[in-house]
Amino acid sequence: MPQPDLLGRRLLFFTGKGGVGKSTVTAAAALLAAERGKRVLLVEVDAKGNLPDLFEQAPVGFEPREVYPGVSAMAMRTEESLKEYLKLNLRVPVLGRLGPMARVLDFVATAAPGVKEVLTVGKVCWEVRESIEGRADWDLVVVDAAATGHIIGQLDAPRAIQELVAVGMVRTQTDWMVELLSDPALTALNVVATPEEMPVNETIELVERAREELRVPLGAVFVNRVLPELFTHADEDTFEAVRRPEAEAQLRARAGTGVPAVLDAARLAVSLRRTRAVHLTRLRETVDLPMVYLPYLFVRDAGLRVTRMVADALAEELGL
């Protein structure tokens, strides 16, 4: 399957099971787009504003701040999003009433489904629309979105609200959001997975559900932390021969007492790769989306260097 022109869109969501490296892949996509000359807004939806860690920058808040040349980052705060929404849309001096209003909305959001979600997705859509219409600077908005378990609820919120709210301003507002979110020329939902059982299961389920329940177009599956294949079949026979007692004894005579551990480590690497290959095959056979493979990184540090390594791997995979 050909790689989609992901960076040519305006809005990219990244979801995935916890622990698969979703934030890193999202940050790498933003970095890559910026290095290709785009002005990128990177939105962190779920967490605590730590996404700039991946650029070795201090945490951000609701106000976007440049964390890398061409990449501005912001952390979603639904209360701030609500304030902004009211200011822009009601055109009434609401400041005095915002305290109780925000509290009430926060409270309603606990019970009324989709309110928090719509404030999140709404802000993201707003930034995209503003930039399309030339009032904001972004060529691309990249969202480190909710994990697989929550993403449907998050992206479906405008539609859920449409169903629940028959009239009123919110209703009108959600119409254009739904339109923007369903446009395959503008928007793509991407899934990050690792070749392991649960991430693959969740990816398969999510893709199915997204097709049934969401109108948001699917982009690609980013398969992260793919272990290298150590040996070809013939090489593996040789490896097995090396592990036999006689050969191992000779190896030990030349390379020292550490040899068994080194051979065990290679055995472990082969088994890990093989176990994961089963899941990878299952993913490939079940999900008919473009697959983008990113290697397991054997590195000691975290931060910008790693983000850049992932971005380089992305560039290679996407043919950029």
């Binding site: 009211l86 009433r97 009123g168 649960m198 007492t257 551990a261 080194v262 290679a266």
Partner: protein
Amino acid sequence: MSPSVPPGGLEQLLATKEIMVFCGSGGVGKTSVAAAAAVTAATRLGGKVLVVTVDPARRLATALGLEGFGNVEKQVPPAALEEAGLEPRGELWAAMLDTKRSWDDLVLRHAPDEETAYRILENRLYTNLTGRFVQSHDYIAMERLFEIHGTGAYDLIIIDTPPTRNALDFLEAPARMAEFFGGRLLRWLTMPYRVGGKRGARVLNVASRPFYQLADRVLGSQFLQDIAEFFLNFQSMYDGFVERARAVEALLHDRRTTFGVVTTLEGAPLREAEFFCEQLSARRYHLGALVLNKTLPDYLLEPDAAAAADVLVADAPTIAGALAQESKPPELADTERTARVLRTVGESFRNFAVVAKREAELRAELGRQPEVVSTVPNFEIDIYDIAGLARIGEHLFA
């Protein structure tokens, strides 16, 4: 917190507790750890042990006999344990959490009458809230734990917490529930739909008219009315609900309950785990154990092994030639191939050693820790049967 590790570790801990709650960020293997702890507890400690799990991998669910959904606890057949080579002293039970069903049960229990119950169950907000949004897992998991514990049917209940946005959500859920239904805000919001008569109308005019105008413009009056109706019905369950939520919270604080934090030795999950350990202690929950899951083997850190890997990479052709001459197996006749394999073996060791070093460093930096710290290796195969869980359990209980 004391430097001396008590004998027995997790086994000792579980012998003295009735509930163990496993938590940690997504993808660290909470579910397997919880199931493994239950299998091993049933085997070694005896008694009736129940594992309650939220979203198990299908094969794991199958292994535990949890094929269908529903809130029923099922015994794992003793034969299944014996087949896995275990000689269980006790019984192993398993249950899966059915969120929607648990909420419905809760409403049926607390509603003043059947009519109210069904009005709630059919309310659009209610169905959305319970069916669609995962946050509702938080409370219901703890509620369900309380329910099962209350039956007194089990000696030990091990529960794996739901995937939440914030790992602490489920702890705050009972208090939040109580606050929610007891709050002045709720009364305020539902006021225009509650009050009749002149006095009420006047209160409404004074207190909340601007708010309602604003809310009306933003949300539409139909939606507000739906919300109000839902809350009014829900309020009829207030007393029962709040009492219940407080009881749930008390149980989590009870000395019979302990918490286990599960993490991998990776930056982000570990930071979250540390934060979680701190928060549990600060809130006076009993932090019983820290589980370092999916760690790489220690031999990757051995200096001898690193030296051997270096030799293999540097002298691969020479060693390959020697092997072909001296040991003469046909597979080693192609010295070029052998050299390539030896070099690859050495390089792969170096690669994994880098990750193992990173893990060791992170581990050394670990701050405040509970007395029991278990390390579970990264198994090269997927664990999806009882024998596999028992293998994890051996490391957990070591």
